[in-house]
């Protein structure tokens, strides 16, 4: 799966929760766009969509803070 594929899938998932356009490096949490409830749904989405296991140690804001961070995290886990 290419970086663009992962990015597009993640973007369309985000679109279900956020009605404004977000840049790839925008901080999703700081902007108040989403809350911790969303964070959990995001983790479940990543596991299901990309078949990766998110371990307890991976549950960190830094892995999920921006679109680019999410994509990078998924790519590291898929290796």
């Amino acid at each position: 799966m290419t970086t663009t594929d992962i990015l597009e899938k993640t973007k369309s998932f985000l679109a279900q929760f956020i009605s404004v356009q977000v840049g790839n490096d925008d901080d999703l949490f700081a902007s108040g766009l989403v809350n911790s409830l969303f964070a959990m749904q995001l983790v479940l989405f990543v596991e299901k969509e990309f078949g990766v296991k998110v371990e307890n140690d991976d549950l960190d804001y830094d892995n999920f803070r921006t679109l680019n961070a999410i994509v990078g995290f998924i790519q590291r886990k898929m290796k």
Binding site: F17, I18, G32, N35, S36, L37, A39, M40, D60, Y61
Partner: protein, 353 residues
């Protein structure tokens, strides 16, 4: 019963039943509906169904029948409203019970199944050994079975079926709602109340510690007396949470126990009913504590003990600024960074009492 003498001999006998699934032909009524449509109810069955309902035990149906005539018959008997997610079809009953468990979002190990046919009971036992199977011949003694006798009957137990019926309405609206989740949540007009537990809350509090496995941070269970001590102790804070929305009340749905030292507050237990999953109330409780800890100048810690079903609560902690600081066997200690707390979510009115 001899199994009562040694509680370890049969773990199933200890577990309280949350849902009874009924067969229809020759179990609820005499005869086979598709053969004679003039079936009569078995003696005493109405009383049993109503008694279970008043005990807060949910009920459903797994029957091999045609759906419409069977439901019409239940309507005529005035019983239809007692059954949630009835499965009247030609599928395996084990599979139907699984479907009901999924719809109600409660564990399969809290189910009982009553049927007159040994074949059906065995088929269920074979694939779902944790389900308590009852022979319909024992109908008249079933109310005495310990698993069908909850320790307490609280105000919430008697309302439980109605609360699940409101859940079904909410779910239907939620499924058909297009747009961001928060916009849907905002349409519910939810009011969340967090208050110090009073004596009249303790039965429900104990019931919550026993019934809740999934959205529970440690799984500690406390007796009525222990909870009553915490309520009055200077070293503890015991909160109970309630939730209401435009479809009705969810009842008392959450519990929070904090051990207060001079410098550190430790969350011993944070739990909520599965019925409020995805409502964001865990975060609200944690945010309230983060505010309080900041105001009081204490550190905020939390204990977490993993079972295979409570990962959601670990995530709740991790995404609310808790970090692991210590691990003692299976018990993890997390500490909050107490960074600036976000305001309560806009879709929820919060009342702290």
């Amino acid at each position: 019963m001899t199994t009562q003498l040694n509680p370890n001999s049969n773990p199933r006998s200890e577990k309280k039943v949350k849902c009874v699934v009924w067969d229809l032909d020759n179990t609820v009524w005499n005869g086979v509906l598709l053969e004679h449509d003039q079936v009569t109810l078995r003696e005493g069955v109405i009383d049993i169904i109503k008694t279970l309902d008043s005990r807060g035990i949910l009920q459903s149906i797994a029957s091999k029948n045609e759906f419409d005539p069977a439901m019409a018959k239940l309507q005529a008997f005035g019983l239809a409203e007692y059954f949630l997610y009835p499965q009247i079809n030609w599928n395996s009953k084990a599979q139907n019970i699984e479907t009901i468990a999924k719809q109600l979002n409660i564990g399969i190990d809290t189910f009982a199944f009553i049927d007159d046919q040994a074949f059906e009971r065995e088929e269920v036992s074979f694939s779902q050994p944790q389900v308590l199977c009852i022979d319909a011949a024992d109908l008249h003694t079933m109310l005495d079975l310990p698993p069908l006798n909850p320790k307490f009957i609280t105000e919430d137990s008697a309302k439980r079926r109605w609360m699940y019926l409101s859940d079904m309405n909410r779910q239907q609206v939620e499924d058909s709602f297009v747009g961001p989740k928060e916009e849907f949540l905002a349409t519910l007009n939810m009011v969340f109340t967090l208050s110090r537990a009073k004596e009249e809350d303790l039965k429900r509090a104990e019931e919550l510690t026993v019934r809740t496995n999934q959205l529970n941070t440690t799984g500690y269970t406390y007796s009525y007396d222990e909870l009553n001590q915490f309520r009055q102790s200077d070293q503890h804070l015991l909160f109970i949470a309630g939730l209401d929305d435009k479809y009705g009340t969810y009842g008392k749905i959450g519990l929070l126990l904090i051990e207060c030292d001079k410098e550190v507050w430790t969350i011993k237990l944070l739990l909520m009913s599965c019925r409020v999953m995805s409502r964001g109330v865990g975060t609200v409780m944690i945010n309230h504590l983060r505010n309080e800890a900041r105001n009081k100048g204490v550190r905020l810690r939390a204990e977490f003990i993993s079972n295979d079903r409570n990962r959601m609560m670990y995530m709740t902690y991790k995404f609310n600024h808790f970090k692991e600081v210590e691990k003692v066997y299976d018990r993890v200690i997390l500490e909050n960074d107490l960074s600036l707390v976000q305001p309560f979510p806009g879709y929820l009115t919060v009342r702290i009492e």
